[in-house]
């Protein structure tokens, strides 16, 4: 039996947690939109799945290649982990990673509050 106090104490926390999660997702989407606008693309429809092979890496703009190559090395990572390697801001890496997802090069999976990015090879274990 859960006491009234416990319910009252937990609920506001859960609600706040939910709000924070939603804000983070909203923030990520805005980052992607800003990034796409910067590079002159207005559509945000995901492109068909395109494997992140070496020729694709070669043809990428420098800023995305750096992110993509770091993820290739790590296999599976959050924007924070990529940012630690590239020495760029987490928000910047988050935007680039999400752009790579939209381009069909990466996949994204949420686990709780963390978003993990990985390549198709990694998804096959």
């Amino acid at each position: 039996m859960v006491s009234k106090q416990e319910v009252l104490g937990k609920r506001p926390l859960q609600i706040l947690e939910k709000i924070r999660e939603n804000l983070e997702r909203l923030n990520e989407k805005m980052e992607v939109m800003i990034e796409l606008q910067k590079h002159g693309r207005k559509d945000i429809q995901p492109l068909p799945e395109t494997p992140l092979d070496v020729m694709t890496l070669l043809s990428m703009p420098d800023h995305l290649r750096k992110t993509a190559m770091t993820l290739c090395r790590l296999g599976r990572a959050t924007a924070e982990e990529i940012a630690q390697q590239t020495h760029r801001a987490r928000a910047v890496e988050s935007a680039y990673l999400n752009q790579l997802v939209i381009m069909g090069h990466l996949k994204k999976e949420r686990k709780g509050r963390k978003a993990y990015f990985y390549t198709e090879k990694e998804s096959q274990g």
Partner: protein, 262 residues
């Protein structure tokens, strides 16, 4: 876990610059210096190491490892008995059968991506777990998938180049448009240099010219040796003729790499 061993890709813009001869002899030189080395033939368009090293019996080809149908242990052939030292010399060969070459040239992007994953996995399976000091990838010239995979997987790219003008131009382009983009440490080996250019003081002038031209470290200059040509690619100079000037130059190159990678 810290990896002590290193992966070296030997690449070039044009064919015929001496990549295979350099790779095989560099691997044998490292082994002669007491290192544990594995040489891989990643030139799937024109495999040649089986001929150079006179190997007839192969349990598993490197093609099969990259296809995911064979473990790396079965690909490795132990040639340590050919090395007169405590070093270990292994090779992994590409299948020279026409059908195998055709099969490799028809692979799609997904396959190439998985092949890169399997190449990268060698760092764990061979360098970390089996204690290899060097893995040397002999590649196809130019922009081939297998070669770029090898470059991406390597710690050091050695570019074998000549003084041929189209080779010089192509090498310069690749330095900026390939190795730089992948942020690879790149060194140059100038091969097939005529003896009158190689002799002092021409050599110092040539060294300065090459460094200025490519803006990357010059690992060594190899003159055009008639003995090497006469051997028709059938002699491992580093082992069979250790006193030959070609073997001596390779000794210097291997020592330089060892010092630079330490």
């Amino acid at each position: 876990m810290t990896t002590l061993g290193k992966i070296i890709a030997v690449h070039s813009y044009k064919g015929g610059t001496g990549k295979t001869l350099l790779s095989a002899n560099l691997a044998a030189t490292f082994a002669k210096h007491g290192k544990k080395v594995c040489l891989f033939d990643l030139d799937f368009r024109a495999p040649s190491l089986s001929t150079v090293l006179k190997i007839e019996k192969v349990e598993c080809w490197l093609n099969e490892y990259l296809n995911g149908t064979c473990e790396i242990d079965k690909v490795l052939i132990d040639l340590s008995d050919r090395i007169q030292n405590r070093g270990k010399f292994f090779v992994g060969l590409a299948n020279p059968a026409t059908e195998a070459m055709r099969d490799m040239s028809a692979k799609d992007r997904k396959w190439e991506m998985r092949a890169l994953g399997r190449l990268l996995a060698l760092r764990n399976s061979l360098l970390n777990d089996k204690g290899f000091d060097y893995l040397i990838f002999d590649t196809s010239p130019g922009l081939q998938y297998s070669s770029i995979n090898a470059i991406v997987g390597a710690d050091l790219v050695i570019v074998a180049t000549t003084l041929d003008r189209s080779d010089v131009d192509g090498t310069k382009r690749m330095l900026h448009e390939l190795y730089d983009l992948f942020e690879k440490k790149t060194d140059i080996v100038l091969n097939k240099v005529l003896h009158d250019v190689y002799s002092q003081p021409g050599r110092e002038e040539l060294q300065a010219k090459i460094k200025d031209l490519y803006q990357v470290p010059l690992l060594g200059i190899i003159p055009c040796f008639c003995d090497v040509l006469k051997a028709e690619g059938g002699i491992l100079f580093a082992q069979e003729r250790p006193e030959h000037p070609f073997a001596k130059i390779l000794d210097e190159i291997a020592s330089k790499i060892d010092n630079n990678m330490a």
